[in-house]
């Protein structure tokens, strides 16, 4: 729609420009038929076009002018000076409205009636009313777009890259020579402008992904016709912008994926009907931006990937040993389509099977710093998800160090970064291979030092583990000496001599102007011949447990504060946090913990823990949250053994065997029912607002209620018993708060405290007020 509107604006503008000469001529000689026709054609076209859009003003104006001019053309009316003036005024108004449209303003309101009335035939001698609107039209602004050759943009980009490097070099030298402050300030300004310039130039290279999607409808139509299928293509997200070069790099992979979807994915109409689907297969291509990545999803509702056939083929062609293949999970089976030499197409058709497989697609996507994932449900369809960085040339990367040399890793491949010495990580050598167990997930470990031919690290515990995610969800950890920095790097392809190393994806220049090698995570894995056996074993166990019955419950196993082993369903865990014991208080009859500006009910402990800091699980049912105290997270496990229910309903639902040990299953349902059931008013901590300032009721009350307090005013039932009182410091007078049995928080209107002894809080410091309210009660006997 926007495109059409822009076209309308551009066309109208062009016609106006072409018309300007004609208007002048017609004004001079109103009887000139050619000039009249030209203007008539203009208003006629504008009237027709504006009908497509919701542009009532332009439509009404052009319609009125058309009527008047039509009467002149038919000889029913004389083109007198009044009419000429009125028509020109209308044309000027249309021009103004078009400009407003172009500037993105809404020309919806405004009164054109005087102009339209002026077009009507006047009684002889009457003053032309259009003159009333006779302010000169604002000079038209020139069109704001120009065409540029791409080479020029490329030259600009490389010029800007040089500039950035020169700036970095200069920055380094300035630091070394400790230049005068004004020189540094001046340099900062230059540096800022260069950064802006680089952003702007980068943007000039962006193109709407539409240009990638535009050929798809035709292609799908032709493919469908060729294969005797019916395919309904829907495209979404065409306005996402992507580096022009990146769009070119994606063209072939996307074409290939679409071909595959139509050729192998979507069934023939009769087959679809037999399977209870619509005759026409649905193929959806959508793009969206997620952070500095673009996600492109290609989804069909066809037959899905025949995982069994794929696995059988992988085994028969020697890509995988049978015992390993048998342990693959569903996702890993589907990901086999990315292995070279595997295809489940029953026959080579004219469309696919020309020796270009999904392995090439994957290689192409990875070459531009992207990732490809596949998900498939038999009979229900296949979804391929491409994740690519916004630009081809600038890749967000992490720089790491090993044996004194720096390398870059594309951030898109990084899952997480952990220190080997961290509590959550166990690093072990098993038969010469290193295995890391990170929060219960086992991953193979590659040492970057060994990959680059350096000596093994002296101390394993000093290594940092970069957890890398490959296509198909395969994961491994790369151990490096140091993690330096996040940098946006301008990546260029490496020369063949460098690529033969089989470790690198490209070269780049670091901020210090030195060359930097960009590591290729999947090539590293391939070079180390990672079997992924260990990883697969785990996930395959989960998957197979899930395939025969209901999906196995995944649970987080932990040691509770009382030492028992407990677990909660993983899905209910929002996150794991740490809290200081002083954030925990017994308020309104139960333990609560303050996390940020929220108060959550605390479970898992009977009293305020003695340890200074404790770990908490934040559990959620989607709406409310509960905190659950624990001692230590042990593992993530699938519960495949039966759960023996507890004799009575309570916080523990039952017990199950996990890894040969009895583990109590926390009854999430019971917990949420106990805490969040129709909020028994009494369950909320009560807070009394004492004082008469309207601020209390109009401004403070909603804040407190939002934070989970029951707000009371003096005289209301329960007000006497409220254990928290908010008072106004101004009403109390200066000095410390009057003694009270309740917890008193005093707020003041002035931002600055009145004096030394003033313990009040500024009334707009929401965080401090909520923190003070939730703070543990001062021991009352102290008063």
């Amino acid at each position: 729609m926007d495109d059409l509107l822009n076209e309308f604006i551009a066309e109208t503008r062009e016609m106006l420009e072409a018309l300007s000469g004609g208007i002048v001529a017609w004004e001079g000689a109103p009887d000139d038929r050619a000039g009249l026709d030209e203007i008539f054609r203009f208003v006629h076209t504008v009237k027709g076009n504006s009908g497509f859009f919701d542009l009532p003003r332009i439509k009404a104006l052009s319609h009125a002018a058309e009527d008047a001019l039509a009467a002149v053309r038919e000889g029913k009316r004389r083109p007198d000076a009044a009419l000429v003036t009125a028509v020109l005024a209308v044309i000027d108004r249309i021009s103004e409205l078009t400009e407003q449209l172009e500037a993105g303003e809404d020309p919806g309101s405004g009164d054109d009636t005087s102009l339209i009335e002026a077009l009507a035939e006047q009684a002889p001698g009457a003053e032309p009313r259009a003159a009333a609107s006779g302010s000169l039209p604002a000079p038209r602004t020139a069109s704001r777009t120009i065409r540029l050759p791409i080479e020029l943009l490329d030259r600009m980009m490389s010029g800007v890259s040089d500039l950035v490097l020169a700036r970095n070099e200069l920055a380094r030298q300035l630091r070394e020579t400790s230049a005068a402050a004004d020189v540094t300030a001046c340099f900062e300004r230059v540096s800022g402008s260069i950064a802006d310039l680089r952003d702007a130039v980068t943007r000039t290279r962006m193109q709407r992904i539409d240009s990638l999607f535009a050929p798809l409808p035709r292609m799908v139509r032709d493919l469908a016709a060729e294969t005797g299928k019916e395919v309904v293509l829907s495209i979404d997200g065409g306005d996402v912008e992507l580096d022009r070069e990146m769009i070119e790099m994606l063209r072939d992979p996307l074409t290939h994926i679409i071909r595959n979807a139509v050729d192998h994915g979507i069934e023939r109409p009769e087959g679809r009907k037999a399977a209870g689907k619509k005759a026409g297969g649905a193929l959806t291509v959508c793009a969206r931006q997620a952070g500095n990545q673009i996600l492109i999803e290609i989804r069909d509702d066809g037959r899905g990937i025949d995982a069994e056939k794929l696995v059988a083929k992988a085994v028969s062609s020697g890509i995988m040993r049978a015992d390993r293949a048998a342990r693959l999970g569903a996702a890993e089976q589907a990901a086999l389509i990315f292995e070279p030499g595997l295809s489940t197409a029953p026959e080579v058709t004219s469309l696919s099977g020309r020796g270009v497989g999904m392995d090439v697609v994957r290689a192409n996507i990875e070459r531009v710093g992207g990732l490809i994932d596949v998900a498939s449900a038999p009979g229900a369809g296949t979804t391929l998800t491409l994740r690519v960085p916004l630009t081809l040339t600038i890749i967000p990367a992490l720089t790491v160090g090993a044996a004194g040399q720096a390398f870059a890793i594309p951030r898109s491949a990084i899952d997480e970064i952990v220190r080997a010495r961290s509590d959550a990580v166990r690093l072990e050598q098993v038969g010469g291979a290193a295995i890391a167990t990170i929060r219960g997930r086992r991953t193979p470990v590659l040492f970057l030092r060994l990959l680059i031919g350096a000596a093994a690290p002296d101390a394993m515990a000093d290594q940092n583990l970069i957890v890398l995610k490959l296509a198909g969800g395969r994961i491994y950890a790369l151990a490096v000496d140091e993690v330096h920095d996040h940098e946006e790097l301008v990546v260029k392809p490496a020369s063949p001599a460098i690529m033969t190393a089989g470790l690198y994806a490209g070269t780049t220049l670091a901020d210090n102007g030195r060359p930097l090698l960009l590591l290729d995570p999947s090539a590293l894995a391939g070079r180390a011949m990672l079997a992924f056996d260990e990883d697969k074993e785990d996930s395959a166990a989960e998957a197979s447990a899930g395939s025969d019955s209901a999906p196995a419950l995944k649970a987080l196993v932990f040691r509770a504060l009382d030492g028992t082993r407990q677990m909660v369903p993983l899905g209910a865990v929002e996150r794991i946090e740490e809290a200081a014991a002083k954030q925990i208080a017994r308020t309104a009859g139960r333990l609560r913990v303050t996390l940020g500006d929220r108060i959550l009910p605390l479970e898992g402990c009977a009293a305020i823990p003695e340890k200074p800091r404790i770990r908490l699980l934040r559990l959620t049912d989607g709406q409310s949250e509960i905190a659950y105290a624990l001692d230590e997270v042990l593992d993530i496990a699938s519960i495949d053994s039966p759960i023996r229910p507890a004799p009575a309903a309570g916080p523990i639902a039952g017990v199950a065997l996990v890894g040969g040990e009895q583990v109590e299953l926390v009854d999430i349902h019971w917990l949420f029912a106990a805490h969040c059931a129709p909020a028994g008013a009494a369950a909320k901590p009560a807070c009394l607002l004492a004082g008469s300032d309207p601020f209390l009721d109009t401004i403070l009350r909603p804040v407190l209620e939002g934070a989970g307090y029951r707000v009371l005013r003096e005289g209301e039932p329960g007000a006497e018993a409220a254990d928290t009182i908010i008072r106004l410091a101004e009403e109390d007078g200066p000095g410390p708060a009057p003694a009270s049995t309740a917890h008193v928080v005093r707020i003041r209107a002035q931002p600055e405290p009145a004096g030394e002894g003033d313990d009040s809080i500024h009334r707009y410091d929401r965080e401090a007020i909520l923190k003070a309210l939730a703070a543990p009660r001062p021991k009352r006997r102290r008063n």
């Binding site: 490389s158 890259s161 040089d162 950035v164 490097l165 040399q405 990959l451 680059i452 031919g453 350096a454 301008v490 260029k492 392809p493 490496a494 020369s495 063949p496 001599a497 460098i498 033969t500 190393a501 089989g502 470790l503 690198y504 070269t507 780049t508 220049l509 102007g513 030195r514 060359p515 930097l516 090698l517």
Partner: protein, 143 residues
């Protein structure tokens, strides 16, 4: 007009690169190693915003790479990739007296694949060296 030749000292000999193949002559002051790359690839160097692949020419010829810091390099672009070829010294640019001619006999194994022919210049016969062959490496036959 006859072709221009860039005269460099390489493996102890004065040899000629076709000047048309050469983009620039630079001094390389810092080389970042590229672990895993072939032995004749010394690493990477930066030239303005470009990353050059640095070729250790003696190593490419199968000689042990010299110990003295070689800083003179010849920049050449092959298949769109810029390379810096480290040589012992860059001496001069001179005009060839005639077209290069094939070598009349087998050269020492060292030069067998890197040599394109010989070319007379300034009253001397010079070995004409193939830049691309040096970049590809392993140019000397195991003798």
């Amino acid at each position: 007009m006859a072709a221009l030749l860039l005269i460099v000292r390489l493996a102890g000999e004065r040899v000629a690169f076709p000047a048309a193949d050469v983009e620039a002559v630079v001094e390389i002051d810092y080389v970042v190693p590229a672990p895993g790359a072939p032995a004749h690839v010394a690493g990477l160097a930066a030239l303005r915003s470009r990353v050059l692949t640095v070729i250790d020419c003696p190593a490419a010829l199968g000689l042990a790479s010299g110990e003295t810091p070689r800083r003179d390099a010849v920049v050449a672009v092959v298949d769109g990739h810029p390379y810096a070829l480290l040589v012992e010294a860059v001496e001069d640019v001179i005009e060839a007296e005639s077209e290069p001619v094939p070598l009349p006999m087998r050269t020492a194994p060292l030069w067998r694949r890197a040599a394109k022919g010989m070319v007379p210049a300034e009253g001397e016969l010079l070995l004409l060296v193939d830049v691309a062959a040096l970049i590809a490496g392993q140019v000397s036959e195991a003798a």
